[in-house]
Amino acid sequence: MPQKILIVDDSRTSRPFIQQALEIAGLADAEFHQAANGHEALSKLQADGPFTMMVTDINMPGKGGIELIHDIKSLAIGEMKIIVISSTQSTIRDAALKEMGVLEVLEKPINMPKIIKIFAPFKAGA
């Protein structure tokens, strides 16, 4: 079954890059949606869901990625794999995110070999 993926990033130029990276990683048949911040993401999750996966930035205006993840958990918006992409590295923060159910925390800019490894299990037919 194809994945339905929400990409959340305030950077208009980053979102297509992230989508392209996921397509190269084997998710070319996925249905992709985009949101520019946490507020927009939450609206899409509630209006267009369920999604199978969400890839989100952390540092965004308005509602950031961590607050978005908290909201998703408290609102119980379906089961969904969550991957975080961040400009900063913090083992403490990453451990807390994984406790919340985040699958992986990736560093910006995207590292293709790591993306391919993480998303390989989600390819169609995998």
Partner: protein, 154 residues
Amino acid sequence: MASGLLDAAIDQAVQSTFETYFFLEAIIAQGEAPPSTQAAWTFSIDFRGPLSGSLLISLSAETARGLVDVLPLSAEGHEEETIRDVFAEVTNTIAGRIVAALAGDQFAFDLSIPECSFGRRSTSSAESHVFQTDCGNLEVCLIQLDSAKIRQGA
């Protein structure tokens, strides 16, 4: 202040970010940056955590356009918006790498949303690091840094 550590963190962050974003080298320019009356883009970001401060990145409009042209972006005719967007991301990434190099990854940091302005370059009392790229120079400086907590012995 452990200036050697600070300089190395800035240099490494800028160089690695340019390699991974633009596939270009950003070479450390020797000597001081000449004062410029040329209008320039300036991107700033604040970071708060065990270390606090601000990062400023300044580059001419021509350099910014040249670097954005290197990227495989679709030509949508929104040049200024694209420049703001791309360099907000670059500033974010460079700041993240600098704080990780200075304080280690055992801490959590807050980064502000990058801000940008375009106009006459303002001089800063902080020492600028000047980098040369194939598209022109850019200046990077850290200001208001709480140096007392810079991790020793990197």
